[in-house]
């Protein structure tokens, strides 16, 4: 088990280790090493050099493992990484008496992370060792990632080919989900949230995935939809009071209106800016999103600014209200659904109703997307994404075509927005920050552009998992950002990226000949 590194490489290894240590030291010494602490009458510094030292030590060990693996010393890495992982996990599981008490960083989560990282190293290097044991197995470093990528590609292709089946199974699972045993209110709430993001992802997929337009301000349309509903439905809305209406408009009446308003906003924004190239479009849409938020924040007489609009009613069912009689004043002459049916009021029933409403809305978005791809306008979107100049020379008006994509995408954003308002019963500009746009875009891109099932997978990964792991608390967004980076580095084209032309002229032969002719 002696470490055998060729003498010529030894200096390089030392430089590598030293360089890593130096970089990690420089990264951590300022922000980790000193903590700016508030004291009465000012601020002072707290020293945390132990954390810096441990960060450097961990970096050196990890880099050392990587170097050892590169030189084929899999056994050392497997044994030492497994030892670290086992020690950490055992002491983490069996109370505070173990190794973990003398680790300098006390956050349990970081210790778990370290344990998982070492376990990963142990497994990875054991797998490589086994692979090398085989006679034909060449131990080239590039081989393993390539195999992985090929595997994921095959999975993606399979998923796309069997989309109909997978879709049907997913639909059935979604339909029975609220009635499964063990599903409590918390899970239902998470499911509603995930479905909202799936719908937003599908809506944005029309703009980004099909038409290839980079939209960083999708949240603007979400906000327009939410406020168009909130302003007409809540008894607290200043607009309702100005109009002198005593009763808000029902969710079902408002829904098309909210979609229309959002689509109009989309067209109004899109009209001047859609002739811009990709990145400029991205920044302008981002700016537009911020403009909407700033306006909502400051237009106090209409939107009540940062106070937001509260008391938004839940959707009605068959003409009956689904609220409990909390607010006697507004509800005195309405009949609630549960009274009409002779049921007890139960919060879970309202959530189940919301669940099916958003499920239906999301499926409608999906159905629209799948069908519109077969229409001339859908084909024009995809053609534009591939080659704008070719489209123009074939007589497609790029601006108008993009405008329709933008408008439809915005419309679904508006629908989702009014659902958001009715679910939260409260809207304020705080819910419509840039980070929301980034999350929705991340769902589309991580899923693999244009892949409808990819959006579902990504929404589960990005929204569902962090919600379930609420215990991560303040680390949640850190992991969110980190996993966005890692997934993109692993699969730059998206998790389920697999692009085949939606239609082919005369089968495969024609494609081959145009390919060689170009």
């Amino acid at each position: 088990m002696a470490v055998n590194i060729p003498p010529a490489d030894r200096k390089g290894v030392l430089i590598e280790l030293g360089g890593t240590a130096l970089v990690v030291f420089a990264l951590t010494v300022s922000l980790v090493g000193f903590h700016i602490k508030d004291i009465s009458g000012g601020i002072t510094l707290d020293l945390r050099f132990v954390d810096v030292a441990s960060a450097v030590a961990i970096a050196i060990v990890v880099r050392g493992w990587l170097i050892l693996m590169r030189h084929g010393h899999y056994r050392i890495v497997t044994v030492s990484a497994a030892a670290v992982a086992v020690l950490l996990i055992v002491s983490l599981l069996f109370g505070g008496a173990g190794v973990q008490t003398w680790l300098p960083f006390k956050a349990k989560l970081l210790q778990w992370l370290l344990a998982i990282l070492s376990a990963g190293f142990a497994v990875g290097s054991a797998v490589r060792m086994a692979r090398e044991g085989r006679p034909a197995g060449s131990a080239q470093d590039g081989a393993v990632p390539d195999e992985q990528a090929a595997l994921m590609d095959r999975v993606s292709a399979q998923v796309q080919r069997n989309a109909l089946w997978i879709g049907a199974i997913l639909f059935l699972a979604a339909a029975v989900f609220p009635f499964m045993p063990g599903v409590n209110l918390q899970y239902l709430d998470i499911a509603v949230l995930v479905l909202t993001y799936i719908m937003l992802g599908w809506g944005l997929n029309i703009v980004v995935g099909l038409a290839g337009l980079l939209d960083l301000g999708y949240v603007a349309f979400y906000a327009v939809g939410a406020y168009s509903f909130a302003l007409f439905a809540s008894p607290d809305s200043p607009l309702l009071q100005d109009l002198g209406w005593t009763e808000g408009v029902s969710f079902w009446l408002c829904l098309p209106f909210a979609g229309l308003m959002a689509a109009l906003a989309g067209v109004a924004l899109g009209f001047p800016v859609l002739r811009l190239r990709g990145d400029y479009l991205a920044i302008v849409t981002l700016g537009f999103g911020e403009m909407i938020r700033v306006t909502l924040l400051n237009f106090y007489s209409l939107t009540k600014g940062p106070d937001g609009i509260s008391n938004i009613p839940p959707p009605s069912l068959l003409g009956y209200s689904t609220q409990s009689k909390m607010d006697e004043e507004t509800l005195e002459n309405t009949t609630e659904f549960h009274t009409a049916m002779g049921w007890e009021f139960d919060q879970a029933d309202t959530t189940i109703l919301l669940y099916f409403v958003i499920l239906a809305m999301a499926l409608a978005t999906n159905f629209f997307t799948v069908r519109v791809r077969k229409l001339p306008v859908g084909r024009a979107w995809e053609a534009l994404r591939e080659d704008e100049i070719a489209c123009r020379s074939l007589g497609i008006n790029p601006t108008n075509t993009k405008l329709t994509a933008f408008g439809f995408g915005a419309m679904f954003g508006g629908f989702a927005g009014s659902f958001f308002a009715t679910r939260q019963t409260f809207v304020s500009p705080e819910s419509f920050t840039f980070i929301e746009s980034a999350v929705i875009l991340a769902i589309v891109v991580l899923g693999g552009f244009g892949s409808q099932i990819g959006v579902v997978v990504a929404a589960f990964l990005l929204i569902g998992l962090p919600e379930i792991f609420r215990e991560l608390q303040e680390y949640r967004m850190l992991f969110f950002g980190g996993s966005m980076v890692l997934i993109m580095l692993w699969r730059p084209a998206g998790l389920l990226a697999h692009r085949e032309p939606t239609i082919r002229m005369h089968g495969r032969r024609a494609r081959a000949s145009t390919g060689s002719g170009g």
């Binding site: 601020i43 190239r277 537009f288 950002g481």
Partner: protein, 312 residues
């Protein structure tokens, strides 16, 4: 007379704000020029620089009174150094492997990095606003007059503002020399035009791109220090809006053009301050973006950008 004084006051404020935007915008424009991606996390680099400057200021304060110009020089160098390491790491970890990937992939990674860095700083330093007492005080009175209500209204050019303007001009000169006269600048311009051809001619492309990030981060570090001195407080979220406006400035000036970035920064700073001063404070960001949209509609390549020719 009051109106002139008020105008002058806004002008001075606008120019100093514009210097911050311009310095950050150069980082955006250089990275965009060389690898064609929006480095969304650049605003976070600026935010980190403001924290590093604050920490070094506090350290020097604890170490006992250091002669002020020397203290500022030390803070400047420390901020540039430590922030540059962040810039370098950002490129090495998050962007290098994605250079050949679809553009959106790099953009998503950049947004992910931006979220990551914001929360990293928030976790380490807390979410509360961190104040720094004014370090440079005093100034030269330019105009002294009375306002409409008859109260005294003095416009002064503070030493801090002078320092900011001088520092920015010096940096611009150094930077221009670096780009136009040195081997590194030549390599950068070559990579900008054609990366594979540059590599064939023996330019270390990886190193050149890494140095571009280092340079961009150092300039953002100067902006972070200026921000800290001028506004006296920072938190983990300052990078977002500053970054957004700086990117707007880069687009306004013509992305890829260094003088354009500085000009765009100045214009954005002036527009913001004048709009807030004469019309409406709350809607100043709306005004900035409206100007951006107008420029992009009527002059899509920005003020000093070269029109790019689409080849089929």
């Amino acid at each position: 007379m009051y109106h002139v004084a008020y105008f002058l006051d806004q002008l001075i404020n606008g120019v100093t704000l514009g210097a911050i935007y311009g310095l950050v915008a150069i980082g955006y424009t250089m990275v965009y020029g060389i690898i064609g991606m929006i480095n969304f996390a650049h605003g976070e680099i600026f935010m980190i620089a403001s924290f590093v400057s604050l920490i070094v200021f506090l350290l020097l304060g604890l170490a006992g009174g250091v002669w002020l110009p020397l203290a500022i020089l030390i803070v400047l160098l420390a901020a540039m150094l430590f922030t540059a390491v962040y810039g370098w790491t950002l490129e090495r970890v998050a962007y290098r492997r994605l250079r050949a990937s679809p553009r959106l992939a790099a953009l998503i990674t950049a947004i992910g990095m931006s979220i990551f860095l914001q929360n990293y700083v928030q976790l380490l330093q807390g979410a509360r606003n961190k104040p720094l007492p004014p370090q440079i005080t005093g100034g030269v009175e330019v105009v002294n007059t009375t306002n409409q209500a008859g109260q005294a209204y003095a416009v002064s050019l503070s030493y801090l503002q002078m320092l900011i303007i001088v520092l920015t001009i010096v940096l611009m000169v150094v930077f221009t020399v670096l780009i136009t006269r040195t081997a590194l600048g030549r390599a950068q311009r070559a990579c900008e035009q054609d990366r594979s051809m540059a590599a064939l001619l023996g330019i270390n492309v990886d190193r050149t791109i890494a140095l571009t990030f280092v340079m961009g981060a150092s300039l953002a570090a100067v902006a972070g220090l200026i921000f800290m001195l001028r506004y006296g407080a920072t938190d983990f979220f300052v990078g977002f809006l500053t970054g957004l406006k700086a990117f707007t400035a880069a687009v306004l000036g013509g992305i890829g053009s260094l003088p354009g970035a500085m000009l765009g920064g100045l214009l954005i700073g002036l527009i913001e301050v004048f709009f807030a001063g004469y019309f409406n404070l709350e809607y100043k960001d709306v005004a900035t973006f409206t100007v951006l949209v107008l420029v992009l509609i009527f002059r899509p390549t920005g003020l000093l950008g070269k029109p790019d020719i689409e080849k089929v």
